[in-house]
């Protein structure tokens, strides 16, 4: 009888400590964390020819000669952007003065190219959110194809959480080469 009571007490204590941790892990470690990734759906869409980062000449099988337009949206630290994202969504997107839902256009004057065995692409200018106030911390930017039906996701990029007050948030692009470009396929 005494042994059973101790077991019950042990279980109760274990649950007492385990439950908060489980809740914490579920809320903050598993469900609500942004992560850096090339979206898995994007990989499939490349094979399907769903994205055009650069213009191409008309040829026997492809007649689309214009490139798509891309946008960059910011997400709160409470978001869950990552490899599983398939399209832009406003859920957990930042909001504030002078920030328009959907984010800003990505300047794309440089077509994808290759070096060695790696193909790569980087926006040709910094991504800039001008004179905004974003008071709730954010730590992720989603690049997506705003010309596609459904705003197909390309990639998510994370950084240390930030806020901005009546200021400009600038994401300076990395060097557009096979080692540093924003999107690379080796």
């Amino acid at each position: 009888m005494k042994e059973i009571s101790m077991k019950q007490m042990f279980k109760t204590i274990a649950r007492f400590f385990a439950l908060p941790f489980a809740i914490y892990a579920e809320r903050y470690l598993l469900l609500y964390a942004n992560s850096q990734a090339m979206c898995t759906s994007f990989k499939q869409e490349i094979l399907n020819g769903s994205h055009a980062f650069g213009a191409q000449s008309a040829n026997g099988t492809r007649t689309v000669t214009t490139k798509d337009t891309f946008k960059a949206a910011l997400y709160l630290v409470s978001g869950s952007q990552g490899a599983s994202i398939t399209a832009y969504a406003a859920t957990n997107e930042v909001s504030g003065t002078n920030y328009t839902a959907g984010g800003v256009a990505v300047t794309n004057a440089t077509a994808p190219t290759t070096s060695g065995t790696t193909a790569f692409w980087t926006p040709s200018a910094s991504i800039v959110y001008t004179t905004v106030t974003l008071s709730t911390a954010f730590d992720c930017v989603l690049i997506y194809n705003s010309a596609s039906t459904g705003n197909l996701a390309v990639s998510t990029h994370t950084f240390g959480s930030q806020t901005v007050t009546a200021g400009t948030f600038t994401l300076t692009m990395p060097a557009n080469d096979s080692s540093n470009a924003l999107v690379r396929i080796a």
Binding site: T131, T133, H157, G160, G167, L171, T172, N180, A186
Partner: protein
């Protein structure tokens, strides 16, 4: 002096002030993930206030961003 966009309180609209009326702080964050420069202004009349009237962020990601490893199957 340059004009700086400011927000005097969390609920007030964005306006401009002369930089001479403000105290400027520059924070540099440099770690394996990013190189970030935060430019922060407080009112000269209240330089230690918790609320900064202006904060701009210039960030450059340093870690290799997004990388996909293309692979094909062989027939051997």
């Amino acid at each position: 002096m340059a004009k700086i966009s400011v927000q005097l309180t969390p609920d007030s609209p964005i306006t401009e002030m002369d930089e001479s009326e403000l105290v400027k702080t520059v924070n540099v964050i440099d770690n394996p993930v990013e190189h970030t420069v935060e430019t922060i202004y407080h009112l000269k009349s209240n330089p230690n206030a918790e609320w900064a009237v202006h904060k701009s962020v210039d960030m450059k990601l340093k870690i290799p961003a997004v990388f996909a490893d293309g692979a094909v199957a062989g027939f051997l």
